[in-house]
């Protein structure tokens, strides 16, 4: 029970955060990205607030042996900067710059009932599934030969 309450609380805080900060409004994000036009620096203050809390808080929490409701901390193990990471960031940046939406605000904005948010989230699901299909597709003989070569 405590476990599910903690998930619910994390979601509540997350949804409130992206909403209170105005990040659920794509125009605000687009204006942040538009240094040479109608610049709105708000996103910097959002990241600043989030980073101050997590930078300090993670250091305190990660000193514990384990989380309250799970066996261990599950931190991303890989440290390799590869083409997938950079390529993914390029593709994401392109979509973010076109729409002004990243995943959390897009999901949160669904409650305001605009059809545009629903269209975006449906497309995001399609994009996620398409990429997953590409990544999990078995490699061709040619690619296997290249890897071995």
């Amino acid at each position: 029970m405590g476990r599910f309450l903690s998930f619910a609380l994390a979601g509540l805080l997350f949804g409130a955060g992206v909403t209170v900060s105005g990040m659920v409004n794509p125009m605000k994000v687009l204006n942040f990205l538009d240094f040479l036009g109608t610049w709105d620096p708000t996103l910097i203050t959002v990241m600043g607030g989030g980073l101050v809390v997590t930078f300090i808080g993670y250091r305190i929490i990660l000193r514990r042996a384990r989380p309250l409701f799970a066996g261990s901390f599950q931190l991303p193990g890989t440290r390799i900067i590869d083409a997938k990471l950079v390529g993914g960031a390029v593709i994401f940046g392109l979509g973010w710059g076109l729409s002004g939406f990243c995943p959390a605000p897009a999901m949160a904005s669904l409650v305001f009932g605009n059809i545009q948010s629903l269209i975006f989230v449906a497309a995001m699901a399609a994009g996620t599934l398409a990429m997953r299909a590409i990544l999990h597709r078995p490699p061709s003989q040619k690619e296997l030969a290249e890897v071995e070569g």
Partner: protein, 143 residues
């Protein structure tokens, strides 16, 4: 035009940070919206699916509650482009986060807080590409 709102921006950022701390302290996980969203796209409705549903229901409730309390006016929401732009944007955001293993929350806040080299690179790249994209669309007479 949107107004620079540093106080509500910072307050919202603190709430997002607290959300990340609750998830880490409770369940040992990084708060990444794209990973949580991607985990819903499955036909295996077990624990890994269920906890993500709880988080997303929380996100929706948090957004609705904030508006209900008067902390945000949904009428201010404005979308940047046409339906085609939104579809293209959604496809790219979904594909890019699935390939690059993260978005603004997972890399941009949690990863930077952990000083993860992968997240520093990813955040720098997606910020730069998004800035160039907006410049191209708004100032070079693109789509």
């Amino acid at each position: 035009m949107t107004e620079f709102t540093p106080l509500t921006g910072f307050a919202g950022g603190i709430l997002i940070g607290l959300a990340a701390l609750v998830l880490m302290a409770g369940n040992g996980r990084i708060l990444g919206a794209s990973g949580i969203f991607g985990g819903l796209l499955t036909l295996s409705f077990e624990d890994e699916f269920l906890w993500r549903v709880v988080v997303v229901v929380g996100i929706l409730a948090g957004a609705a509650g904030s508006a209900w309390l008067g902390w945000f006016d949904p009428a201010t929401i404005a979308y940047g482009g046409s339906t085609a732009t939104l579809i293209a944007g959604g496809l790219l955001v979904g594909a890019g986060t699935a390939l690059g293993s993260g978005c603004t929350s997972g890399h941009g806040i949690c990863g930077l807080a952990r000083v993860s080299p992968r997240s520093i690179v990813a955040t720098g790249v997606f910020m730069a590409v998004a800035i160039v994209t907006v410049f191209a669309v708004r100032h070079l007479g693109g789509a």
